[in-house]
């Protein structure tokens, strides 16, 4: 009983230990290559539980299955129209053929070196086919960054897939810059551009203000002259109506009108500065003469 128990426990330990040596897991995020004394014998891409000969005989080599990112250095390139531009790219890549990768590259560090060489060379040759205006332009349709990225990706893949088992999913330009000398001249140009824009705004403002003022002055003078015209017409109407009324009334006896109008005018003409020389024979004084007793003429 006692010995049987002990045997059972030992067996259990041995089985568990052996199973750890024989069985191995392949995760969702990795590829596995089994090597037998260094020689690859089996490639596993599906996750799950697998078995092999214990370690010194067969070894598990794990490779990242997920998409990885590499960033190139900032490198100055020449465009087709001989303009310098500094470009930095990111490369999204993954191990496509793990056996090829295992044999030709080995690990991720040397993979990124190879990617760097290929992508930078491609970038240089592709950019040489495009003008500066295909990278930077205010005309939306002439900017072909996407096209350039695609071309570099395709060309790079031609080299990496077959030789290294690396598939580049996407290359993106994540930084564009100008050489330092160019930056200075860009600043200079920006300054003069700004100055001319500022001057333009001010001149336009002044012009608009002047237009508004002169418009206002014109409206003002129009209103006033129109009003003057209307006022004069109204006054004229008044004068005409008055004249008509006077004429109609005075026509009834023009002699009498002349008489009293003349009398009326004396009141205005003669004042304290007036000297009147009167003949004693005037009708006014005719009664001064004693000879004349007769009333009337």
């Amino acid at each position: 009983m006692k010995t049987g128990n002990k045997f059972l426990i030992i067996m259990l330990v041995v089985i568990v230990g052996l199973s750890f040596l024989i069985f191995y897991k392949v995760d969702e995020r990795e590829h596995v290559i089994i090597t037998q004394f260094g020689q690859p014998v089996k490639t596993i891409t599906d996750p799950g539980l697998y078995y092999k000969w214990p370690d010194p005989v067969q070894t598990v080599n794990r490779f990242e299955k997920r998409l990885m990112l590499y960033k190139t250095r900032l490198i100055e390139y020449l465009t087709q129209d001989k303009k310098n531009i500094i470009v930095q790219c990111f490369v999204c890549w993954r191990i496509d053929n793990s056996l090829g990768f295992f044999q030709a590259v080995g690990n991720n560090i040397s993979a990124t070196k190879k990617i760097d060489d290929i992508v930078c060379a491609q970038l240089g040759s592709i950019l040489g086919n495009y003008e500066m205006a295909s990278i930077i332009s205010i005309e939306k349709d002439s900017v072909k960054i996407k096209e350039i990225e695609k071309a570099i990706t395709e060309n790079s893949n031609k080299k990496t897939i077959d030789s290294y088992g690396i598939k580049i999913k996407e290359i993106g330009i994540c930084r564009l810059a100008l050489p330092q000398d160019n930056v200075e001249s860009v600043y200079k140009r920006m300054k003069s551009e700004r100055e001319s824009i500022a001057n333009k705004y001010r001149a336009e403002g002044r012009e608009k203000a002047d237009i508004i003022r002169s418009e206002a002055n014109k409206i003002q003078s129009d209103i006033l002259s129109e009003a003057y015209k209307d006022a004069e017409i109204i006054k004229g109407e008044g004068d005409a109506a008055a004249t008509k009324i006077y004429a109609e009334a005075f026509e009834k006896d023009s002699a009498f009108y002349k008489f009293i109008r003349t009398l009326e005018s004396y009141k205005r003409i003669i004042d304290d500065k007036t000297t009147v020389v009167l003949s004693s024979k005037s009708d006014l004084f005719k009664y001064l003469n004693k000879k004349t007793n007769k009333v009337g003429k």
Binding site: D27, D46, P47, G48, E64, K65, L67, M68, L69, K71, L74, I135, I136, V143, E170, G172, R175, L178, V183, V186, Y187, R189, M190, R194, E195, A198, R202, R206, A209, D210, I212, R213, I219, I223, A227, A231, E232, I234, K235, G238, A242, T243, I245, K252, F256, Y257, F259, I260, K267, D271, T274, T275, V276, V277, L278, S279, S280, S282, D283, L284
Partner: protein, 322 residues
């Protein structure tokens, strides 16, 4: 001393004898307990903002385990990966040159009209597909950031500097969001951008004063226009008021003229009516009355009407011509 050591030996014996009877029994219970603990280690919890994924021997067997308490096979059979699916993550991106640092990297964007600007953006994103997020991409944040940078470079290379500094900010953000999401989807990252904000955008410090002057110039222009408008708004109503005044004065003049005429003519007609009744005497009376009124003011010389046979003053003037 001797007694103590003997006591100790006896105690040890007692304990051993007490246990030896049940040793194998105890071992069994202990083993069962250990196995029980091992089985219980399969219990796990998923928090409310998380989702769980179960792998059996590395192979995904269950996605979308909702929050709560759950059971799986214990290690090394099953494994749980938890993803914070509801959490909105935030990352800042900048094309901003910090003068303090070594400043070896040119950190700016080039606009479509070849101007240089610095900008800072914030991106808020969420994990949409936990499976892709976990098993398709190696460093999600790095990929997201670089996709954003590429989207920014792409979007800004098409706009001119005035638009992006002023009116086109919103459109620019939308463009970046769209371009970046396209890239993320193409790469199969399982990430979804919630929003993109342009936190700061500025021209380089070397040319900043000129950019500010442009803003000032725009202000100046609108001030000038505003002043002109207020001038216009002042003088036109004034002119209208003046015009109305002139018209009403003219109307008053007209009414006055007519009223005077009517008054005077009516007076005349009334006098005429009475005059007709006694022409001679009334004429005389009016004449004399007028003279009485007029003459007191004036200096008067009364002479004979003729000197040397000549009339010296045309006194007829004062004489009723009748």
């Amino acid at each position: 001393m001797h007694k103590d050591s003997r006591n100790l030996i006896e105690l040890k014996k007692d304990i051993l004898s007490a246990f030896s009877a049940d040793t194998h029994k105890l071992c069994r219970w202990f083993a069962i307990l250990l196995f029980g603990i091992y089985l219980l280690s399969g219990i796990y919890t998923v928090k409310t903002n998380e989702v769980g994924l179960i792998k059996r021997f590395g192979k995904l067997i269950r996605e979308n385990v909702e929050s709560g308490i759950h059971y799986r096979m214990p290690w090394p059979i099953d494994e749980v990966d938890k993803v914070k699916i509801k959490e909105v993550m935030r990352t800042e991106l900048s094309f901003w040159s910090d003068k303090t640092g070594k400043d070896t990297l040119p950190s700016y964007c080039i606009t479509g009209d070849k101007n240089i600007v610095h900008l800072k953006m914030i991106v808020n994103y969420q994990i949409k597909e936990p499976k892709s997020f976990l098993y398709e991409i190696y460093n999600s944040e790095k990929i997201l950031k670089n996709s954003m940078y590429a989207a920014m470079v792409d979007a800004i290379a098409k706009v001119n500097v005035d638009d992006i500094l002023t009116i086109a900010k919103y459109r620019f953000q939308q463009d970046i969001m769209r371009l970046c999401q396209e890239r993320l989807d193409f790469l199969g990252t399982g990430l979804e951008i919630k929003s993109v904000e342009l936190k700061n955008i500025e021209p380089p410090s070397e040319v900043l004063p000129m950019f500010k002057d442009v803003v000032n110039a725009r202000e100046d222009a609108s001030t000038m226009i505003h002043d002109a408008e207020s001038y216009s708004n002042k003088i036109i109503p004034n002119a209208q008021a003046e015009a109305a005044k002139a018209i009403s004065q003219a109307q008053a003049y007209k009414i006055k003229k007519i009223a005077y005429a009517q008054g005077e003519t009516r007076k005349f007609l009334k006098i005429l009516k009475e005059y007709k009744k006694a022409e001679d005497i009334t004429g005389f009376r009016l004449h004399v009355e007028t003279l009485e009124k007029v003459m007191p003011k004036a200096k008067k010389y009364i002479t004979g009407s003729h000197i040397n046979g000549k009339e010296i003053a045309n006194t007829k003037f004062f004489i009723n011509s009748q």
